[in-house]
């Protein structure tokens, strides 16, 4: 009867298993090029988790997530080159700074209907693109913007994760914490408020839910994750480039979150893999990486027409079906599993 805070759903168990695999196995198998690709994919998974959660739980469309990653990355590099604080402190500050900036940009739109938030965040993404590509990222130079020509100063990675392998593990741990952080919220009062807001704002207000407050809360979490993801991305290479954070990338990331399946952890992983791994793979095969846009487009069409829960939704259904068949054979009742996998 009490809302269960610490139970593990089948989808959650699969997610934790996947995290363990990514933590222990992937870093030992990947070569140095692929370590970088997977680390970057991890960072984008964290950012996608934020937009996907906002879309799946509240129907809110944010088109500035990659721009906000840029903000987090900028703050991380600025702090790294300006002060001698540890990586973790910088990352936390970057996350919160991004959250606050996200609020400032989106707060006027949070009171309005969904479309306005999408438009306002898109404009914000455009603004961030211009700022980040004009001023670039701090690399040890002097002054507020901290940019110097030539090679940049050294970046201090976390004490725990100096090597590329260890850093990938570090990112995997952070991404997992990000998912757990969202899930924890979902199981507490904010999650209940969000579920009602998605059902209808009038019903939420009638139930005593401060709609604007809880929308802002969700947007704040998403911004926090974007900022953290940007900070981690900065730590991956030690420097960032304005071209990474174009407004079009934010739109792409949102679209891929829908293609992947915004309701599921696996959806964010698939989205990030399509976003970062697929182009690298095509490059590796000597195919023009722009082909990935065609594949994304086909994926989006597929999602819109046939798979409202995205690729992850289809995979989850498939597994639920398999488990049911299996347990029918074993004479078990699979209903618990099916019920659980309808939702992460």
């Amino acid at each position: 009867m009490l809302p269960k805070l610490f139970h593990i759903t089948p989808s959650g168990a699969a997610g934790l298993l996947f995290a363990v695999f990514a933590f222990f196995v992937v870093p030992t198998l990947a070569g140095s090029l692929w370590l970088n690709v997977f680390t970057s994919m991890g960072c984008f998974t964290l950012a996608t988790a934020g937009v996907a959660f906002m879309y799946a739980r509240l129907g809110m469309v944010s088109l500035t997530q990659v721009g906000l990653m840029g903000v987090g990355g900028w703050v991380m590099l600025r702090l790294n080159h300006g002060f001698a604080l540890p990586f973790e402190v910088n990352m936390v500050i970057a996350g919160f700074a991004t959250m606050v900036l996200g609020w400032v940009l989106a707060l006027p739109a949070l009171r309005l209907r969904g479309l306005y938030l999408a438009l306002v965040t898109l404009m914000a993404a455009g603004g961030l693109e211009i700022i980040l590509s004009t001023f670039q990222f701090p690399n040890g130079g002097s002054g507020f913007w901290g940019v110097q020509t030539g090679s940049g100063a050294a970046f201090r990675r976390p004490a725990l994760a100096q090597s590329p392998e260890a850093y990938l593990r570090y990112v995997v741990a952070m991404v997992t914490s990000g998912f757990l952080f969202i899930e924890l919220h979902r199981r507490l009062a904010p999650g209940r408020a969000w579920a009602l807001i998605r059902r209808s704002e009038a019903a939420a207000m009638a139930a005593g839910v401060n709609v604007t407050f809880y929308k802002a809360w969700a947007f704040g979490i998403s911004g926090l994750l974007a900022g953290g993801a940007g900070a981690l991305l900065a730590g991956s290479l030690g420097l960032l480039d304005g071209g990474t954070f174009r407004a079009s990338e934010s739109v792409m990331l949102f679209a891929l979150a829908v293609v992947g399946g915004a309701r599921f952890w696996l959806g964010a992983v698939i989205a990030a893999a399509l976003f970062r791994v697929l182009p690298a793979l095509l490059n590796n095969w000597g195919v023009d990486a722009d082909l990935s846009f065609v594949i994304f487009g086909a994926g989006l069409l597929h999602a819109v027409i046939a798979a409202p829960n995205g690729i992850a939704g289809q995979i989850m259904e498939l597994f639920a079906g398999l488990i049911q068949k299996l347990s029918n054979k074993l004479g078990l009742v699979a209903s618990i599993v099916i019920e659980g996998s309808a939702d992460d």
Partner: protein, 237 residues
């Protein structure tokens, strides 16, 4: 005592409520009228979803008009909607718990309160079922539980019997009649089911085209020729 004081609402050219005035003193009162009469609009004014051009809503000396809608709920306003609004991905218990989430009581206290109201409406054994798996009557009962939980002062039901069978409607009527004794709250009920209104509402307000055409003891109001004329030709009666 619920006082509706001279409430006027216009939507562009449509006058949805035209200086409506009524004082509800009984535990359960009704609001009836043909389709489009302005019944739901009146509830929306009380909820704070629709801004009135003019007028006040006062309950036991508390003027509700200055409060944001969610603050009215914190104060003790409860309502159900014409179309039930149960969140599909929350369990029955969670759907009810939302209503008291804002309160500063301990979690144990809130959970006990939720369990208690689910017991009252007969949904205790369904507490852990997700909203998506409820039938329409179970959804209604969950709605009623939401209205009972916490410390309600004013409860409004918008067509609670819509789509229910005769037995279900009778059960719902019993629950509504018990509300005052259980919680001390006053209840307003909108419905097209005149039998239900006649059974549970001591006094009734009749609206037609946004105007009050009758108000008083339910039996008197229902036999009023003006009320009969207003309903003549509408398909609901």
């Amino acid at each position: 005592m619920i006082e509706v004081q001279n409430v006027t609402v216009r939507f562009g050219g449509v006058v949805a409520l035209d200086g409506v005035e009524a004082q509800f003193a009984n535990p359960v009162s009704g609001i009836i009228g043909p389709n489009g009469a302005g019944k739901t609009t009146l509830m929306n004014v009380v909820s704070g979803f629709v801004a009135a051009q003019n007028g006040q809503i006062v309950k036991d000396n508390q003027n509700l008009m200055g409060l944001a809608p969610y603050k009215r709920a914190h104060w003790g306003l409860r309502r159900s909607f014409q179309k039930e609004e149960i969140a599909d991905d929350l369990t029955v218990a969670e759907n009810v718990l939302v209503q008291v989430d804002h309160s500063t009581l301990t979690a144990a206290h809130k959970n006990k309160d939720v369990a208690h109201v689910l017991e009252i409406v007969g949904m205790a054994d369904q507490a852990d079922r997700p909203g998506a798996r409820l039938n329409s009557f179970e959804r209604r009962l969950t709605d009623v539980a939401k209205c009972l939980v916490g410390d309600p002062k004013l409860i409004m039901f918008d067509e609670p019997a819509g789509g229910l069978s005769v037995e279900e409607t009778a059960r719902l009527g019993d629950l509504i009649l018990d509300i005052h004794a259980r919680t001390g709250a006053q209840t307003l009920v909108i419905d097209h089911d005149v039998d239900l209104i006649a059974r549970i509402c001591s006094e009734t307000l009749v609206l037609d085209f946004g105007r009050k055409i009758a108000f008083g003891p339910t039996a008197e109001v229902l036999s009023d020729p003006k009320v009969k004329a207003a309903y003549l030709g509408t398909e609901d009666i």
